[in-house]
Amino acid sequence: MSAQPPREQPLVLAADDDEDLLGLVSFRLERAGYTVLLARDGAEALEIALRERPDLALLDVMMPKLDGFELTRRLREEEATSRMPIILLTARSQDADVQQGFDAGADDYIRKPFSPDELRARVQAILGRR
């Protein structure tokens, strides 16, 4: 990331196959001052992530084409996105799923349904740390 020119606004990638949820995430984060890139499936998210190199990715686990776990693994394998913070967003809530998410390389994990304010707070916390 050090090679990247500093941005005015942090760039966040949000990926979810549900249009309403995508709208919710982007509205809340844009209000908080982030630029939000939208992806409707895993493959699109991977492509945007590699192209735009966002500061953070918010990924739904159950997505068409490429699920969140697999997408996280792929992103971790890529030089450009290997250190990008990733928050997984999922309706699955079993402990095994949480573990799988962290094993894949996620930094945080948000369960659905979630509070938009909490989402914003977590994103801020991760980006603020850096």
Binding site: D17, L21, L24, A91, K112, F114, P116
Partner: protein, 690 residues
């Protein structure tokens, strides 16, 4: 073996036959009693009437028996009868001499008596050839040894004294010796006859009894002649009883057994006894030599040497026969041994049958053997034995060869069949086990698949429930107590719309899950009323429109032939339309169009939902209405796999049909046909749908 013993048996005899036999035996015994009781001075009555009468009766009995019971080779019995008739002729001649009060010796009567022995021996030989066909040489050799030893005694005690007696002329001595020779010949054949073959039929027992009595009578007669010269009573009584026995034997219902070939060799229970007797036979000449030497009465050197040489020769021959027999047994054992181990290695029934056939064929070298289906034709072969597997008669092992070969290999062939039976059972068990294993693993596979589908379903349902819930919770938080800041009026309205849409989506999902639960527990019932299908269709179109527009998919309703009111459950019909329409929208590409067409003819309402989506592969279309099934082309779209199975249940509850026509990449059309039902018929009734 039942099949062969039936052949050993004889024609069924009735009560009349048995009565006749008893009468014959009674008459003969009465004649014998008369012979004994009539005082010796009435020789003419005894020898001129009673004796020929008994003989004639015996001949008649045998001839009657042959005609009545029809033995397969009548010549044996007829020769025996012929022998008796020859004796009868001799007795008639003798009666003539008695009448003239003469008793010449030798006389023409002696010629007939001697000839009678030969004829009877001929009959026994026929019987031996037929009945004991294939029995090895041992019995002949054993009988030979027995006859040789008997001959030694006969020479010492009967023949030599006659020759040495100066009062007896050479001619007389020769005829006397001829009687001894006849008896020895009869003894040889008789011993051969009783040895090695089963003679345990009443008729054959009587025949043997007759032979014993005849021989005993002759011995007594000869000894009496030698010592006293005149007292002939007891010897003749024995002879007469012997003749009566022959007659009784020939009249008995079991008489055909005499010439019935025995295919099953009898178990040789008397082998040890035979060996003891044979050893005794071999020891007799030296014993006699010792006794004569010790007592100093003079040695019968020539007779002893001849006897010893003969017995030695017979013993050598017997050892040779035994050796050959042992070799054959060893060969059989080795054949059977490798057969048994081959069977263990075989792995299908054909192979087992082949092995049994090959082994049986090599056992009987020149013959042919086969395993044939159990069709009742097996009895036509020289040898047959059933092959059974788990109590079921599955085949017959049959063989054709000469009787001797069959007899020799009878038990070995039985073993081949028995081991084949066992191997077949093992094979069947193995096959059954494999099938059970395959069935079990298939079932396991199915259960695992079901379990996997269930997990998938739970995971999917959780996701499907939480996704609209997340939108609702999230947007509502922003509308009510968030630190997101001020929202414009448009934003608030848009958010409320989203919440509303997701509420409906959640509701529909819960409906689906409840419906499935109802269908499963057979509580799925319809609440019918008159439904305006066109109105219902336009309501459902409107409710899906927002979702469709969000995906940039158009929805259209067309109506041809507006249907009459349909007597149906409006809620279920709505659910059906929702499922079909939301599917169609979900699978349509951006810019696509979903068309809902409602039409009717006389008795059917037709509903069609067509999309321009991904389509469904032909080989998956059958499974489409199966619960949880999701087409391979549906992998990029979320869903529970419940919608179409519910749609099918709803349509079928209404007595209708649902079909699909689809082409991958072109689109899919679902067609529903619902019968128009007259409202009055079932008015007011809630029907069970399943």
């Amino acid at each position: 073996m039942p099949s062969t013993s039936a052949r050993d048996g004889v024609a069924a005899a009735g009560a009349g036959d048995r009565k006749l036999w008893k009468a014959g035996v009674g008459t003969s015994l009465a004649l014998c009693a008369v012979f004994v009781l009539v005082p010796a001075e009435h020789d003419l009555v005894r020898y001129g009437i009673v004796y020929p009468l008994t003989e004639a009766l015996a001949v008649a009995a045998i001839v009657y028996g042959v005609l009545r019971y029809r033995p397969s080779a009548p010549s044996a019995w007829l020769l025996i009868a012929g022998g008796l008739a020859t004796w009868l002729a001799g007795d008639l001649i003798w009666a003539y001499y008695l009448f003239k009060d003469e008793s010449p010796f030798p006389s023409p009567a002696d010629f007939f008596y001697l000839a009678g022995y030969l004829v009877i021996v001929g009959g026994l030989l026929v019987a031996v050839r037929r009945r004991a066909a294939g029995v090895d040489m041992r019995s002949w050799l054993d009988a030979g040894m027995f006859a040789v030893v008997s001959g030694l005694f006969a020479w010492i005690f009967l023949v030599e004294p006659t020759i040495d007696d100066p009062s007896i002329s050479a001619r007389e001595a020769f005829v006397s010796a001829s009687y001894v020779a006849g008896d020895l010949l009869l003894l040889l054949v008789a011993v051969r006859f009783v040895m090695g073959i089963s003679w345990r039929f009443r008729s054959l027992e009587l025949l043997v009894l007759g032979l014993c009595l005849t021989l005993a009578g002759d011995v007594v007669f000869q000894l009496a002649l030698d010592s006293a010269g005149s007292s002939l009573g007891s010897g003749d009584t024995l002879l007469l009883l012997g003749i009566a026995s022959f007659g009784a034997a020939g009249l008995h219902e079991t008489m055909p057994a005499l010439t019935e070939p025995i295919r099953v060799p009898s178990k040789e229970r008397y082998d040890d006894l035979r060996l003891v007797l044979l050893t005794a036979c071999c020891l007799i000449p030296p014993a006699v030599l010792l006794v004569e030497w010790a007592s100093g009465t003079g040695l019968h050197l020539v007779a002893l040497v001849v006897t010893t040489v003969l017995i030695s020769l017979l013993a050598v021959a017997r050892a040779e026969v035994a050796a050959r027999r042992a070799m054959r047994t060893a060969q059989r054992e080795s054949l059977l041994g490798s057969y048994a181990s081959d069977l263990m290695r075989a792995d299908d029934e054909e192979e087992l049958y082949g092995m049994a056939t090959r082994t049986a064929a090599s056992l009987i070298d020149d013959g042919s053997a086969a395993v044939v289906p159990a069709d009742g034709q097996a009895a036509a072969h020289a040898f047959s034995v059933p092959v059974e597997a788990r109590g079921e008669h599955v085949a017959d092992l049959v063989a054709d060869a000469d009787l001797l070969t069959i007899r020799r290999n009878h038990y070995a062939l039985g073993t081949v069949a028995d081991e084949l039976s066992l191997a077949l059972e093992r094979e069947q068990l193995r096959k059954r086990e494999q099938e059970a294993l395959a069935a079990l693993s298939a079932q396991n596979e199915r259960l695992l698949e079901l379990d996997r589908m269930k997990d998938q379903f739970v995971s999917t349902i959780t996701h499907e429930l939480r996704t609209p819930l997340s939108s609702m919770v999230g947007y509502l938080e922003m509308l009510t107590g968030s630190d997101v800041g001020e929202l414009s009026k448009e934003e608030r309205e848009r958010f409320l719309g989203i919440v509303d849409r997701n509420c409906r989506r959640l509701n529909r999902l819960v409906d689906d899950i409840l419906t499935v639960a109802r269908i499963d527990s057979a509580r799925f019932s319809l609440e019918r009323r008159n439904v305006d299908v066109v109105r219902l269709a336009s309501e459902r179109i409107e409710s899906i429109r927002a979702t469709a527009e969000q995906r940039i998919v158009g929805v259209e309703l067309t109506v041809e032939n507006p249907p009459p009111p349909l007597y149906a459950d409006p809620m279920r019909l709505g659910q059906l339309l929702d499922n079909l329409l939301s599917n169609a929208v979900k699978f349509s590409p951006e810019g696509g169009t979903v068309r809902l067409n409602v039409g009717s003819n006389e008795d059917t309402v037709h509903i069609e939902v067509a999309d321009s989506g991904v389509g469904i592969p032909a080989d998956e279309q059958d499974e489409l209405f199966t619960r949880f099934f999701r087409a391979s082309t549906a992998s990029t779209v979320q869903g529970t796999g419940l919608g179409l199975s519910i749609a099918k249940s709803i349509v079928e509850a209404h007595g209708g049909t649902i079909t699909v026509a689809s082409e991958v990449g072109v689109g899919t059309t679902f067609s529903v046909d619902l019968p128009v039902q007259a409202p009055q018929e079932t008015a007011g009734k809630g029907e069970a749908a399943r």
